[in-house]
Symmetry: C2
Subunit: 267 residues, 2 copies
């Protein structure tokens, strides 16, 4: 399971302030801390209201790549910001994201297809996020078909089935779990990216919900290929190590025993 | 989800000693502690090597029912011990267990059918626990058919898909998760009882594995009807409250918010 650190995100107030202040030390430390905690890829998002995202995203990519050696997940809805970041990124990044929305298919997909990269594909269309697993599967098929027609390989497309907050509907998480099961069954070969933290938006004790949801998602998909989380959340990391072993993805439970000996499984 | 406390079990050394010593205070306290911690049914098992189980099981049933008001899960492989316990049990118990084994069908099923009770049905036959989900489903069909033919109602049968320890096979938990999914799909109306703690036998950090597995099982079955756990394990209880909400079984997340306000969700 590819572990992606979610924390270098300008929509988080402290990170947004650091981006506006061009605080190099803050960005470096947050990159180092995440890799130290187990991240094998880092999401970078420079979306700060009123700021120059094109400039800021390239700035943050440069700093992070001068600090750590993991690849980046370049996260922007702005094609010009993506283009500027891709121009300076060393190695093979992932792009966050394409979808079945018209502007993404028209403006972002060609950019992705013309670079050597992988990509997150959202189950999202111009009418928003569908309420049923079947409708999300339909959008997944559209974006996968279009991406493959544009030249992307199936194994480079990480599907995000999307998760709405439980605070808006007590059925929100269930729909995502059912979508994960359906996608795994109907779309063999596609990779799955789980982004867990939206589920708990506005709820108390978010970390309990996030890690419980993440392990349930692993069960629903019988293994996810990538997960974007706060890697500094030790209980989340321990839960994912356990979930990996419990879905038979950890031969002889070696990873579990290693984490135990390293004191990473907590109490 | 019916929460069953697993701790009054003579195979646990301290409990076995208390049974041998006829330590009434120990049994009373363990019953009270479990109900206080949230158990709505208590398993009672008087299986101590070399002791008189017929006498001991009736003794423990009497004490527990004089102490707490929750129904009991009468747990024995000995038909005479079950009969003696049923004779003195007040109210409607559950029996642990029947299976597709010949002696259980011949000796335990008639006893269950002649009493007003519910029962756990194991996916187990005379050849032991099958290695594949399909073979476990086949045994589930046999025991369900026989139990219903004997007069039991479907809603009184709690299927236990069984869980082998991960220490014996790194695929053991996965087989159970897949069986839960299959059973939910193929046997509509049957209730599911999850017994989580076997999965971690012989492994380090058992509680992490138990609670992660329990929430994954809830996802695989999209809700379980009953769960047998150590109810004094606060992290397990919090994880199950979260899992219930995440499968849409907790309208408006009221149970989750209530547990949060009561300080039951931990950090």
């Amino acid at each position: 399971m590819l572990i992606v650190g979610e924390s270098l995100n300008g929509t988080i107030p402290k990170v947004g302030e650091a981006i506006n202040a061009k605080d190099v030390d803050f960005v470096r430390k947050l990159a180092l801390d995440q890799v130290e905690a187990g991240a094998r890829m880092l999401d970078v998002n420079a979306g700060v209201a009123g700021a120059n995202e094109v400039e800021n995203l390239a700035w943050i990519v440069g700093i992070v790549q001068n600090t750590v050696s993991v690849p980046l997940l370049i996260d922007s809805a702005n094609p010009r910001a993506l283009e500027a970041a891709l121009a300076i990124h060393k190695g093979r990044p992932m792009i966050n994201s394409i979808s079945a929305e018209k502007y993404k298919l028209d403006a972002v997909l060609p950019l992705v297809a013309s670079h050597d990269c992988s990509v997150i594909a959202l189950c999202l269309g111009d009418e928003g996020i569908p309420q049923t697993p079947e409708a999300r599967l339909k959008l997944a098929r559209i974006v996968l078909d279009r991406a493959q027609a544009a030249g992307l390989k199936l194994e480079d497309i990480y599907l995000d089935t999307l998760t709405l907050g439980m605070g808006t509907s007590d059925q929100a998480a269930k729909v995502t779990l059912e979508t994960l099961r359906l996608v795994r069954q109907e779309l063999p070969g596609v990779r799955i990216m789980l982004i867990a933290s939206n589920v708990s938006f506005g709820m108390p004790n978010r970390r309990l919900l996030n890690r419980t949801f993440a392990t349930m998602a692993v069960a629903a998909a019988m293994g996810v290929d990538a997960v974007m989380i706060d890697v500094r959340d030790k209980a989340m990391m321990a839960a994912l190590i356990a979930a990996d072993a419990l879905t038979g993805k950890d031969p002889y439970c070696k990873g579990y025993f290693k984490a135990f000996r390293a004191g990473k499984l907590g109490m």
